[in-house]
């Protein structure tokens, strides 16, 4: 194993870019080495490597050179104390090599491995001995000569995530104390390729998820820096619910972190989020639903997949055909996105112990977003097999939170909202009572009852019981004011246009089924 002093000396006195790259690569190779399998020798080598890593990190000139290489891809001249120091050596792609070296230093990829304590010690030394966080942020945000080097910036974000996982508090305080540290990270949350590459942004997203999970200050700073607008802009650009992109999933996880503390207020005030949230809860935007609606049968896709699979595996058997009546389903990733969105709104309302005035203001604010309410109600009252019980229960609990302890106006708005069920229109409360009397799984029944309890007001409950005692006159007839007027009420008349619509819809359904059969 080469001597540390020699290596440091070799790096600092390099005369060409090639020398610098060569030293850094050999350093990386040292830590990524494959050690002998003999346990005694392994332990000895492991300890020696760790001592070497510690000495490297604690060497001030070495770490200054590393910082300079990260920030400006330049190795400073060793004669900095002279009156006219010579210019440093510019090393193209030095940042990539330097980040790779630092990554190998903290988490070697060979058989060499540190214990958790050893990794923590190294990270602590790294953070203390150099402005590494600042250098990494500089490199990430405003890299010189690596503008197009996506790999270097992605590795840089990965390195920051690794450092944070080992020393969360020290790294967080470094990021916050660095001028514009966090703001620069948040600025990179964009879907604009000219600002940041997609893979770099995704790494930053992951870094911010870990940062915001543990630190209240970080949460507030990100949220107040238009965090929600940026996240929902990315979500919309990535297609929202359709397809269930992992990036959308990550954005929602981060949004769920941000909504804690005072973030809820910002979420509810952002116009981008208010328009995007209902779309994320719309099952009809699922991949299979869109294909189904646009006339492309899901069977076609399945059949194609099966043919491709058969070709790849070399089997000559005909692909098995699925039932032509199979309904479109949500993809597992889309399912997760809906759950995360419901959780986001639920968290925005706040815990049950939050002050009543704040909670009521949030409840009123959410209740005024009619598309959002409508989407949540559709999910909670759906009996279609496309909506899983998990989603239905989450939606029921969300609506319960919106209405629990809310002003009567909010409760009535939800109770009287009209929804379409099987060609007819009915109010939410009537549908809820119907659901409650259906045989459902126990959690769904209990959550339905919870919502009924939350949404009812003294007036609405008395009216419902009164209507059971004396049904109200239907709106299309004038009640005859005799003692038995209800006996003469006609059944609900169906206008000719309504009957035609019904017939046409049935014919259309038949055509769709016929087409699906024909394609098979």
């Amino acid at each position: 194993m080469p001597s540390v002093v020699l290596l440091i000396d070799r790096l600092l006195n390099s005369t060409s870019a090639g020398d610098v790259s060569s030293v850094l690569e050999s350093l990386s190779d040292t830590f990524n080495a494959v050690l002998p399998t003999n346990s005694d020798e392994f332990s000895h080598q492991n300890q020696t490597s760790h001592t070497m890593a510690t000495e490297l990190i604690q060497s001030h000139p070495f770490m200054s050179a590393i910082s300079s290489l990260l920030t400006s891809c330049t190795l400073p001249s060793p004669d900095l104390d002279s009156i006219n120091p010579p210019p440093g050596i510019h090393v193209p792609e030095a940042s990539t090599t330097t980040v790779a070296f630092l990554l190998s230093l903290l988490c070697p990829s060979g058989t060499l491995c540190w214990t958790h304590h050893q990794s923590q010690t190294l990270t602590t030394s790294l953070l203390k001995s150099s402005p590494i966080t600042s250098s990494l942020l500089d490199m990430l945000y405003d890299p010189i000569n690596v503008t197009n080097d996506t790999f270097a910036r992605t590795s840089c974000a990965t390195l920051m995530t690794k450092i944070h996982s080992l020393r969360p508090q020290a790294f967080e305080s470094d990021v916050i104390s660095t001028p514009n540290g966090l703001n620069r990270l948040v600025d990179l949350l964009s879907h604009d390729e000219e600002i940041v590459d997609e893979s770099v942004r995704n790494e930053i997203l992951l870094l911010l998820i870990t940062l915001t999970k543990s630190s209240e200050t970080t949460r507030k700073l990100v949220a107040f820096n238009e965090g929600f607008d940026r996240l929902f802009s990315i979500i919309n650009h990535e297609g929202g619910l359709t397809g269930g992109s992992i990036v959308v999933n990550d954005c929602l996880v981060l949004a769920n972190n941000l909504v804690e503390d005072d973030g809820a207020m910002l979420l509810l005030q952002s116009s981008t989020t208010l328009t995007s949230l209902p779309q994320l809860l719309d099952v009809n935007r699922g991949q299979e639903f869109l294909n189904f609606q646009s006339g492309k049968s899901i069977l076609d896709a399945d059949e194609d997949d099966a043919h491709i699979q058969a070709l790849l595996t070399g089997s000559s058997s005909e692909p098995t055909q699925t039932s032509p009546t199979s309904l479109p389903q949500l993809l597992p990733a889309e399912h997760n996105i809906i759950l995360l969105t419901l959780s986001l709104v639920q968290r925005a309302i706040g815990a049950s112990d939050s002050s009543s005035a704040t909670k009521i203001s949030r409840q009123t604010s959410i209740a005024s977003n009619i598309p959002l309410l409508f989407a949540a109600i559709n999910l909670s009252l759906s009996e279609a097999p496309t909506v899983s019980a998990e989603i239905q229960n989450s939606a029921l609990l969300l609506l319960s939170s919106i209405t629990h302890g809310a002003p009567p106006s909010v409760k009535d708005a939800i109770a009287n909202m009209q929804i379409k069920v099987d060609l007819s229109t009915t109010s939410t409360i009537v549908r809820l009572l119907h659901l409650s009397s259906s045989t459902l799984q126990q959690p769904t029944t209990i959550n339905t009852n919870l919502l009924i309890r939350s949404v009812l007001t003294p007036d609405s409950s008395s009216t419902i019981v009164l209507h059971a005692l004396a049904p109200p006159p239907p709106p299309w007839t004038m009640p005859r004011m005799t003692s038995t007027w209800w006996l003469h009420l006609p059944q609900q008349p169906k206008s000719s246009s309504k009957i035609w619509r019904l017939l046409l819809r049935r014919v259309w359904r038949m055509r769709v089924r016929m087409r699906m059969w024909m394609r098979m």
Partner: protein, 258 residues
Amino acid sequence: MADAGADADVDADVTGPCGALAALLDAGGEAAKEMLLRIPANSNNDSLSDVILVWLDNWTEQQVADQRPTVVLLVKLLCHWCQSCPTACTAILSRPEAISIFNMLKITGPPTMLKSFAALLVGSLLEFFGQGHGQGQGHGQRGSNGGWSPSTIVSLVRKNVGLGNFTKLLEHPRDVPSAWGEGSPFSEAELELSGLKRWYGDAVDGIRKAIVLEVTGGAGLGEGDGGAGEGDDQLMNQQSEEVSEKRAATICYNLRPD
């Protein structure tokens, strides 16, 4: 005993409507409770409370020892119905099957949720029965109807289980929080459960006040049973112990160094 699968189906059928009706009754108040009494539940024009009582009576006659969720839910629904509604109390007590509620208190074995809810129902009947008739009168002077009065309810309780045991049954779900999960249909939703526990606790507090009023200051003492019996002593001792415990806890709290 009936088929277990069929029982589970009945339980599933009853859980939803019972909860929804309880919510309607709680939110609608006395007006909704009285109106629901007038809605016929079968072709004989019996109200829903009558149908439930007949069902419960049949169930008690079969001497089934286990507590089925359906029975607990139906008794709980009657509890919601009776609270703050003297008319519902009168309607329930006017049925001969009402005695089955008192019989539930006598089921052998340790306290269960069924017995606790039966005690809550009996307590609610005691607290609210005849309240509308005795305006301006003392607690003991509340009206009687069909032979029933608060004092006769207390006498029946005393005869069946004793007032001390009755109070223990009432307090069982508060003393043993795990009781809410013992085969009861309440253990799934945390939000629902917390609301339910609060409702139960408030009801028990009201009932205990009503019992003390009836036993200590009411005319009921002089009517039938000739003074405070063993049950009353037990009740008084238990309440004295609770007051002492609370006092000791307060003293400890005040003496804490911080």
